[in-house]
């Protein structure tokens, strides 16, 4: 029978500890890599665009002249897009979640819808663009208008809302439902008066996150044929529109021709990031404020 050789163990121990230490360092460094890139990205964008942001840039309309160009139209388009996507995804997303969590029998059909939703969330956004182009823009002959863009985006971000709403509804404690049934409430009354109010913060967080995804998404709108340069402001669902990411896209592409366009792109990116930051902060605020209610 071999006994452990004390000196040998000690020798191996020091290499094992060294390996342990080096690995920890490596893991830490790779975590910091993300941080460094984020810093570089923000630095790059800010140095490119911050001097171009002023009131004129925010309230002027688009122009081919970089000095006069503003993003009012793109901001208006972004707001319109949100105004279409928010109610649609709220109704469809919450409806689907309620059905799956409260009504559907646990079985094949429920699993089928669940798998379908998870597959949808994996479909590339550009494919949704082609769906929108075929069904909304050409099939319904809407053209590249706000309604067509909003419907396409709604389908794209729907899985986010459904999953968030499902989690929120699932987290409502069972005893709340039972108390409601005990008072003689019907199933729908219980859902409407107990479950939805209790799940509302989670649902709203999901909707805001879905909206911020829709606001930053570019590819499907390019496919729909949203125009590059649009001077008039949209003021209805059936008006043509443009949004910030598209403006950034065209300015970035054309920066090879007109150098100032890169500055405009940088400035628009700052505005877009600020909007997204505000939306996400709102979502986190709602989540934290209502988190420990039950």
């Amino acid at each position: 029978m071999h006994y452990m050789n004390h000196t040998q163990v000690q020798k191996r121990m020091s290499t094992r500890l060294l390996k342990n230490y080096l690995a920890k360092l490596l893991f830490l460094l790779s975590t910091l890599f993300g941080l460094v890139v984020l810093a570089a990205l923000i630095y790059r964008v800010v140095t490119q665009g911050v001097h171009w942001i002023d009131l004129d840039f925010l309230i002027n309309r688009l122009s081919t002249d970089p000095k006069k160009a503003g993003i009012l139209g793109a901001i208006a388009g972004t707001l319109w897009l949100m105004a279409v996507v928010a109610p649609i995804t709220l109704i469809i997303g919450v409806g689907t979640a309620i059905y799956l969590e409260e009504y559907a029998k646990k079985g094949r059909f429920q699993r089928f819808i669940q798998i379908n939703i998870s597959n949808l969330s994996g479909v590339p956004s550009i494919v949704f663009g082609l769906l929108g182009l075929t069904v909304f823009v050409r099939g319904m002959e809407l053209g590249a208008v706000i309604l067509a863009g909003g419907l396409t985006m709604s389908l794209l971000v729907l899985p986010i809302v459904v999953v968030a709403a499902q989690e929120a509804i699932c987290a409502v404690p069972q005893f709340l439902r039972e108390a409601s049934y005990g008072m003689g409430a019907t199933k729908w009354q219980t859902i409407l008066n107990i479950v939805i109010p209790a799940a509302l913060p989670g649902i709203l967080t999901g909707v805001i996150l879905a909206l911020s995804r829709a606001v930053g998404e570019t590819a499907p709108l390019v496919v729909l044929g949203i125009p590059a340069l649009l001077i008039p402001l949209p003021d209805g669902l059936f008006d043509k529109f443009t949004v910030l990411p598209l403006q950034i896209y065209y300015w970035t592409l054309d920066s090879a021709l007109v150098a100032e366009y890169a500055n405009l792109a940088g400035a628009s990116i700052i505005v877009l990031l600020v909007i997204l930051f505000l939306m996400n902060s709102l979502a986190i605020l709602i989540r934290n404020k209502f988190q420990r209610r039950h």
Binding site: I92, N119, V123, V127, L130, L133
Partner: protein, 319 residues
């Protein structure tokens, strides 16, 4: 007096009966609602299924039209993609190599960095450090792809060109790397979920046997969480294949069939953007080619997602 009271009760009885009748008619209305609501909600839930069907059918119909003009074999084995002009040729291979190479580069960045980040967050970081680092990763994940595209074209490409002078202004290397950076948070958070769900008792058992932290992580925790980790890698590949704006902006639109990563290459997604942006006339082969490419893309990503789900279900360790 007694009689009066009994009459009162009698009267009241009638009114209670009426109340019951009234209640019943109200009840039947709310019963109807109770019956209608699930049906209505089922209709709403069906919208997601309809969306999938819509995608499948639109892609399928137009793809069939495409294969009336171009043979199946020449599409999937053709190395020449020349969609415009009289001698139009539709070979998928240039797009396929572009897609696979850019995704491959992205994975070389995202998988090691994301995996090691996950290990750090799950095994090493204290709660306080976690509270700082996780939101930073979430910010990284929330940045729109168009911003990454701008970053790739105006920062990463010039940076790389100072090391690799042969690199062209638009190339597949830079968007590949940036795409990898974009996917790091996804790999990190999914893998971290898998690592964190390994019970502490397993770690403590190994630690008690004298293993170092690295040995515990590498020989106990990672093997136990391997299904979730690999599933996160597969999902990351699917995400990279479907990514559009970064490659569209930073990789140009060269349709050459090449494996040289210093050159411009087009991915399937970028091709769709270019052709739709150019207003392809409906009904032309060019127009139908969009759908054939999109169908390929859709099938690829769908298979990846199903594979990821299969892996995480099939090889899940039961603790």
């Amino acid at each position: 007096m007694v009689l009066e009271k009994s009459i009162d009760i009698y009267k009241e009885n009638i009114s209670v009966r009426e109340m019951i009748e009234k209640k019943r008619s109200k009840h039947s209305f709310s019963k109807m609602i109770e019956k209608m609501i699930p049906r209505f909600l089922l209709l709403i839930a069906a919208i997601s299924v309809l969306t999938t069907l819509g995608i499948l059918l639109t892609l399928l119909f137009e793809t069939i039209e495409f294969f009336k003009d171009v043979s199946f074999i020449s599409f999937f084995t053709g190395t020449i993609l020349q969609p415009l002009g009289p001698n139009a040729e539709f070979g998928l291979l240039p797009l396929l190599t572009g897609t696979l190479i850019s995704s491959g580069i992205a994975m070389l960045v995202a998988i090691p960095v994301g995996f090691m980040t996950a290990i750090y967050l799950s095994e090493y970081a204290s709660e306080r450090i976690k509270k700082v680092l996780k939101p930073v990763l979430e910010i990284l994940a929330g940045i729109p792809t168009i911003v990454y595209g701008f970053f790739a074209l105006t920062f990463v490409t010039p940076l790389l060109r100072s090391f690799i002078p042969a690199l062209e202004p638009t190339n597949i290397l830079s968007p590949g790397i940036v795409m990898g950076i974009m996917i790091i948070p996804m790999v990190a958070s999914l893998s971290e979920d898998a690592l964190s769900s390994v019970p502490d008792s397993m770690r403590e058992g190994a630690l008690a046997m004298g293993a170092t932290k690295l040995e515990v992580t590498w020989k106990v925790v990672v093997p136990a969480a391997i299904s979730g980790i690999i599933a996160s890698f597969v999902l990351a590949i699917s995400r990279a294949i479907g990514e559009t704006m970064i490659v569209t902006i930073a990789s140009g639109s060269s349709k050459n069939f090449t494996f040289d990563i210093t050159q411009s290459m087009q991915t399937m997604t970028a091709y769709i953007v270019e052709v739709t942006g150019g207003d392809a006339p409906a009904g032309s082969t060019l127009y139908f080619s969009l759908y054939a490419v999109a169908m390929t893309l859709f099938v690829f990503t769908l298979l990846m997602n199903m594979l990821a789900r299969y892996i995480s279900r099939k090889f899940r360790e039961e603790y």
